[in-house]
């Protein structure tokens, strides 16, 4: 489990935890309800991060399965959504690292995905694919902060929770990310 996911679970296992004592059917219901309510938002940000809808679906699926497994460790059911957001981000990071490793192993230069690929066409309209490509050239944290702010419309405190960083860092990272994105778009409009 990445560090960002642990924040919502710090309460640990305790007989007084609201999650403890729920039957598995009830937990499945809770997780499924959360998925229905927020799954599409999370699928959207995962797709923008990964540039692939199938990979995004896998990341979101994995994140909710992780939530289901660890539900009894939630200190508070209200932590479920922040937890699963962090989990999606972490899975996207892992997937991007995995892709980068594969590319390096194949002795290829690390290139951004082809902006005209069919997978990307399923994520954004043609006029926005250069924005997607530019986002994918940003460093991880910068990309994540912009995606959470613009594509999930999260306020800074929630971005900080999702990314496992402070609000101040969110502010500075987002500012730098916007400037970097502007440069990218200027270079490759």
């Amino acid at each position: 489990m990445d560090h960002a996911e642990t924040g919502a679970l710090r309460g640990g296992r305790n007989a007084d935890d609201p999650g403890v004592g729920m039957n598995q059917l009830a937990v499945a219901d809770q997780v499924t309800t959360l998925y229905r309510m927020h799954g599409m938002d999370l699928l959207r940000i995962a797709a923008v991060m990964l540039g692939s809808r199938p990979a995004a679906e896998d990341a979101v699926q994995d994140a909710f399965c992780g939530l289901y497994r660890r539900w009894h460790q939630l200190a508070n059911p209200d932590n479920a959504l922040p937890y699963v957001r962090s989990a999606v981000i972490n899975r996207c990071r892992s997937e991007l690292r995995r892709q980068a490793r594969l590319q390096r192993r194949a002795d290829q230069s690390h290139r951004p995905p082809d902006p005209e690929s069919p997978e990307q066409a399923a994520i954004l309209g043609e006029e926005h694919r250069n924005v997607l490509a530019a986002l994918q050239r940003l460093p991880d944290r910068q990309r994540e902060s912009l995606i959470l702010r613009y594509f999930l419309d999260l306020p800074e405190p929630e971005i900080a929770t999702a990314m496992g960083i402070s609000q101040g860092t969110v502010k500075s990272t987002t500012s730098r990310a916007l400037a970097a994105l502007a440069r990218q778009l200027k270079e490759r409009p």
Partner: protein, 354 residues
């Protein structure tokens, strides 16, 4: 569109169009609980319960049952093991209520019995029409009973499913009706296993609102089976399979008033695709009759009912065709879930039986 900020906002609007809130999502496939760490079985012999105080009920909904398949033993072994348990159960005198003599901490509550009773039997039901008819007449002889929020739902369940070993698990539990507290029997002692402070701790698939006021909701439902069927279907996207799963889940978890139970039998028999089974057997080997539905072409989900008392006895989920599901081969006859409710009712305090 000049600045990065504006272009991002425009791209985000586009993404929201392509991934709209409330849009169709791929189905969520939750994992088999046995595949993750930290899960303990509610079996006193396991010795893990007192350590963690975490418990897990295991009856899955139709969808979850089909999605959480993780077989470990061949079907024959499951059946043989279940038969062994049936013999053992017969030896210790298992009935539909937990005998107090089996445990010094167990005492009767003195509250009226919420469900069907032996003395109200109208005869042995041999088909679905008789089941509904007899159950309705028997239910009319029972008092109306809506459990209060601080009374307790008691259940003694024996269960086997693809997540457990061949000997199954036993769960004896008490849930406060408002779901604030839960107790279970561990090593002969009644112990708290959890509490909830939320206003809506959980919801139940196919039923509106929260579990903590479900009885109040059920009490407001119409008695007329056709009207009740319409409401249950409306709560389940007009899908008979989902409605069947919702009713099954409710019967399995909640001690239901006999009148409502009879109405549910009437609803079930009117659902498209529901069939009557003259011979069904619950997990401890008790003979019953069944109402079943074949779901997703491969799974038979059966509600097992006592033909003489009309009490809900348990459920069987079994593969009726070999198939591959989520990359795993499922054999014909493979059991996904099989249980037996040995006792169920409303009591005043945890540790009591009806």
């Amino acid at each position: 569109m000049n600045t990065a900020d504006e272009r991002l906002r425009s791209a985000a609007r586009d993404a929201a169009r392509i991934f709209p809130a409330g849009g169709e999502l791929p189905p969520l496939r939750l994992p088999d609980p046995a595949s993750y760490h930290g899960r303990e079985r509610l079996s006193p012999s396991m010795g893990g319960i007192g350590r963690s105080r975490t418990w897990v009920f295991t009856l899955a909904t139709a969808a979850a049952a089909a999605e959480s398949l993780r077989p470990r033993w061949p079907a024959k072994a499951w059946i043989a093991a279940a038969a062994g348990i049936a013999v053992a159960a017969a030896g210790i005198g298992v009935s539909e209520s937990l005998p107090g003599s089996r445990n010094a901490h167990i005492a009767t509550s003195g509250l009226p019995v919420i469900g069907f009773q032996q003395r109200t039997s109208q005869g042995v039901a041999r088909n679905a029409v008789e089941l509904v008819d007899y159950a309705t007449r028997a239910a009319a002889l029972t008092p109306k009973f809506v459990p209060g929020p601080h009374e307790w739902m008691y259940r003694d369940l024996r269960e086997i499913n693809s997540n457990f070993g061949p000997h199954g698990d036993r769960e004896v539990t008490w849930f406060e009706v408002n779901w604030s507290h839960m107790f279970a029997l561990f090593d002969g002692k009644v112990a708290p296993v959890g509490s909830s402070t939320g206003s809506c701790p959980v919801t139940m698939s196919g039923w509106p609102g929260c579990v903590n006021n479900l009885y109040r909701y059920l009490a407001r439902l119409p008695a007329d089976p056709a009207a009740l069927r319409r409401i249950i279907l409306a709560n389940n996207h007009s899908d008979p399979a989902a409605a069947f799963g919702a009713i099954l889940g409710l019967m399995n978890l909640y001690p239901l008033p006999a009148r409502f139970q009879a109405e549910l039998y009437a609803v079930l028999t009117g659902l498209p695709g529901v069939h009557f089974d003259r011979s069904a057997t619950d997990f401890v080997g008790r003979h019953g009759i069944g109402l079943y539905m074949i779901q997703t072409h491969f799974w038979k989900m059966e509600i097992i009912v006592n033909p003489r008392t009309y009490v809900y006895m348990g459920v069987l989920v079994v593969a009726v065709k070999a198939h591959t599901e989520y990359g795993r081969h499922v054999r014909m006859g493979q059991i996904q879930n099989w249980n037996a409710v040995l006792g169920s009712g409303i009591v005043k305090k945890p540790g009591q039986v009806p």
